[in-house]
């Protein structure tokens, strides 16, 4: 169960250390935890080499569920098995959860003040911009896709059309469009 973490040579010494490390990196992550996770796990603790981090991230992205949560699970699992996975997950979620719920409760008390609702509206617009920019930034990765750029952009466009405009249930979009896309990719990958 406790497979060695390899290259970097170091690993969290105890479940407590694992918990505190993930707690710390989650609390620093305003507007996204991933960049902080890279800095902490690779550069500060040296528990992972850059290559190991990228590999773990790739697996996290393929799996359903939030990427950073999957990253915590996989890292914790490699270090201490199932217990490690759960400890890393709790470390990442518990303290930020308390913070965000406190903010929610406070917000409800103050939502009649225009400055407060205005501030949240401003943050909401920025949040939309951040997500759009992430999507735009990652579009270049489609160039390396086996299906070719035009087809990929078409699939991405149809996804936007189906989910944002027609408001089709996501299950249909993934089951329909997704299986077509996987079948095309499977065909192109012919050995």
């Amino acid at each position: 169960m406790t497979a060695p973490l390899g290259g970097a040579g170091a690993a969290p010494a105890s479940l407590r250390e694992l918990f505190l490390a993930f707690n710390r990196l989650a609390l620093q992550g305003f507007g996204g935890v991933l960049p902080v996770a890279q800095r902490e796990l690779v550069e500060r603790h040296r528990w992972l080499t850059k290559d190991e981090f990228v590999e773990m991230l790739a697996i996290s992205q393929v799996m359903p569920g939030p990427n950073v949560v999957n990253l915590a699970l996989i890292f914790g699992d490699r270090a201490f098995g199932t217990r490690g996975a759960l400890v890393a997950l709790c470390g990442m979620l518990l303290a930020p959860l308390a913070v965000v719920l406190a903010l929610t409760v406070l917000y409800v008390q103050f939502d009649r003040y225009p400055a407060v609702t205005g501030a949240l509206r401003g943050m909401g617009a920025v949040a939309a911009g951040l997500i759009l920019s992430t999507g735009l930034k990652l579009l270049v990765t489609l160039r390396r896709n086996v299906m070719g750029l035009p087809l990929c952009l078409g699939l991405a466009g149809l996804t936007v059309l189906g989910t944002a405009w027609l408001r089709l249930p996501l299950v249909w979009v993934i089951a329909g469009l997704g299986s077509i896309a996987i079948a095309i990719a499977w065909n192109r990958l012919k050995p």
Partner: protein, 181 residues
């Protein structure tokens, strides 16, 4: 807001399914959450829905926590329990199981077809999420131009500079508090 056990169970089941569909992160399922919670069941208004996500975005921690805030705003602690366990349990179990099973199988044709096939959809879903979050502001003439400016500034800053998103969130809240948005 009163919800019976059936509502809570339905909410839990819906998030259970979304958990398995969330390839590319929980945030990509926002359009479907919006469809289910706002359009279909009217448990939250458009403004409450967007505010929930903005609150989670403003706080430190994984973006996933917007799921907890949505649940909390729908039905308090029980609502939060329903949405969070729903979104976490299936993907957690599957992730652990699959990574243990397939660490060396990543280069096989099946796994590669799966990832390459779903990447364009994942990116489409990210753009769609951005649209669903922006749309309520853009539809309202009072907020349209301010929100559009903030969105544009955020996109340009993220693509062209290495500025931390934290500063953009701060900028957005300041502009909003001053009544510009």
């Amino acid at each position: 807001m009163n919800h019976d056990a059936g509502d809570l169970f339905g909410l839990f089941l819906h998030f259970l399914v979304l958990s398995l569909l969330a390839v590319g992160g929980a945030i990509t399922t926002v359009p479907d959450m919006h469809r289910y919670i706002v359009v279909e069941h009217h448990w939250l208004t458009d403004a409450q829905f967007t505010a929930s996500i903005a609150l989670a975005q403003a706080a430190p921690g994984p973006n996933l926590l917007f799921v907890a805030v949505l649940g909390w705003n729908i039905a308090g602690a029980l609502g939060m329990l329903a949405t969070m366990t729903g979104i976490l349990v299936p993907s957690t179990v599957l992730s652990l199981w699959v990574t243990r099973w397939g660490a060396q199988r990543r280069e096989t044709r099946g796994v590669r077809a799966f990832t390459s096939g779903l990447t364009p959809l994942t990116l489409g879903l990210l753009l769609s999420t951005g649209w669903v979050l922006a749309e309520p502001y853009l539809r309202n003439p009072a907020h349209r131009w301010g929100a559009l400016a903030l969105i544009a500034v955020s996109i340009v800053a993220m693509l062209r500079t290495r500025l931390s998103p934290m500063w953009l969130v701060a900028l957005g809240s300041a502009a909003g508090a001053l009544g510009w948005v």
